[in-house]
Amino acid sequence: MKRGWIIGGAAVIVAVFAWLLFGGLQKNVVFFLTPKELLAKGTDGVGVPVRLGGQVKPGSVKWNAQTLDLRFIVTDGAREVPVHSTGAPPQMFRDGMGVVVEGRFGTAGVFEATGLMVKHSNEYRPPKPGEEAHEKYKTLIQQSSQ
């Protein structure tokens, strides 16, 4: 009888896990949308709190040290979304880095970020000979403290 309960309970739990994995949660446990997915939402994606993730398009970073105004473009290779943020970014923020921004996509087509996170890849390598470690954050901090 007791054993029956345990087996029954275990079966229920396995079923719940299976449902979590292959059913409902699969689509909802998405920490961020890609630019393509956000733009595909059309007006549904505008003005609502959302996270957007992708790569900082190389060469797109514009940083104003006086006003702490940061503008850059997030790309997923297919589509691009311009992002506006204020305040010093995380120290690992740089051209070509993975980022996740929190905020709202405005009607003007610019994503107004209230939070900026760096998403690191699973690759860890020292800089190649002759290459310098990416210490852009240091120049950013120096610029903003001047």
Binding site: I6, G9, A10, I13, V14, F17, L20, L21, L25, Q26, V29, V30, F31, F32, G53, P89, P90, Q91, M92, F93, M97, V100, G115, L116, M117, V118, K119, H120, S121, N122, E123, Y124, R125, P126, P127, E131, A133, H134, E135
Partner: protein
């Protein structure tokens, strides 16, 4: 004349030296495992160059990652001995599962703490509710709950049955934590492999994994030894209280 009755079985067991005497964990295992941690950490810190993106922050990896692996391993031990307890009802299996749960929860807490300390400078945030971090926290809470359940249950058989059920089911979360970064889109990156890791980092990581494995084995053994002693004391006190008139 010996007093007769149902207590005989437990007092006989106490007289049997092999059952009464818990295993002794050699003090050498303590020295070897702590020594291995010192050697592995020193090696890793001295040999690994600054990482391209995060500089010396990368060195947190040498504890964070092995601690996560030992969390998984400890809870696998909990799972195995909880299931065997439910099947065969051997008291020692319960004590071993509980010892592994305590050690696993410690490694789990360490993983979370170091992850937060790493996340703040690397990601810019201490914490996010993505699938990896959330499932790791849930795993921690399950085993904190497991330990609380044991602390608040007096009847040893009831304690063993309930905690075996919680331990076996709770450990099912381990593969979910591991796979979370592959199944779902998270801020936490997927696992690194020798292909994504510079060889100068790989050796340090492996050495530290071995060192923490030794620490884990020592902790579980030592905790199990203490649990056996505690249980033997309880049995003796019980026998004395009931047989001592």
């Amino acid at each position: 004349m010996k007093p007769e009755g149902q207590l005989n079985s437990s007092s006989d067991r106490l007289r049997d030296p092999s059952a009464a005497r818990p295993p002794r964990t050699s003090i050498w295992l303590a020295f070897v495992s702590i020594g291995a941690v010192i050697v592995a950490q020193t090696y890793a810190i001295l040999t690994s160059p600054a990482e391209g993106d995060m500089g010396h922050l990368q060195k947190i990896m040498y504890v964070h990652v092995p601690a996560a692996w030992m969390t998984f391993l400890s809870f696998f031990v909990v799972f195995a001995f909880s299931v065997r307890y439910l099947w065969q009802r051997r008291e020692n299996d319960d004590l071993l599962a509980a010892s592994a749960a305590e050690v696993g929860a410690t490694f789990n807490g360490l993983t979370l703490m170091l992850g937060m300390i790493w996340g703040r400078p690397a990601w810019g945030v201490w914490w996010v509710w993505d699938a990896r971090l959330t499932s790791t926290l849930v795993l921690f809470l399950i085993f904190v709950g497991y330990l609380a359940l044991r602390a608040f249950t007096d009847d040893t058989q009831q304690k063993a049955r309930w905690s075996a059920a919680v331990g076996a089911i709770g450990a099912l979360n381990v593969p979910i934590v591991y796979m979370s970064v592959k199944w779902w889109r998270t801020l936490h990156q997927p696992p690194s492999s020798p292909a994504t890791l510079d060889p100068r980092y790989t050796m340090g990581l492996r050495l530290n994994a071995i060192a923490l494995l030794l620490v884990m084995i020592y902790f579980i053994r030592k905790r199990y030894e203490i649990a056996r002693l505690e249980r033997a004391t309880e049995h003796m006190a019980e026998a004395a209280a009931m047989g001592g008139k």
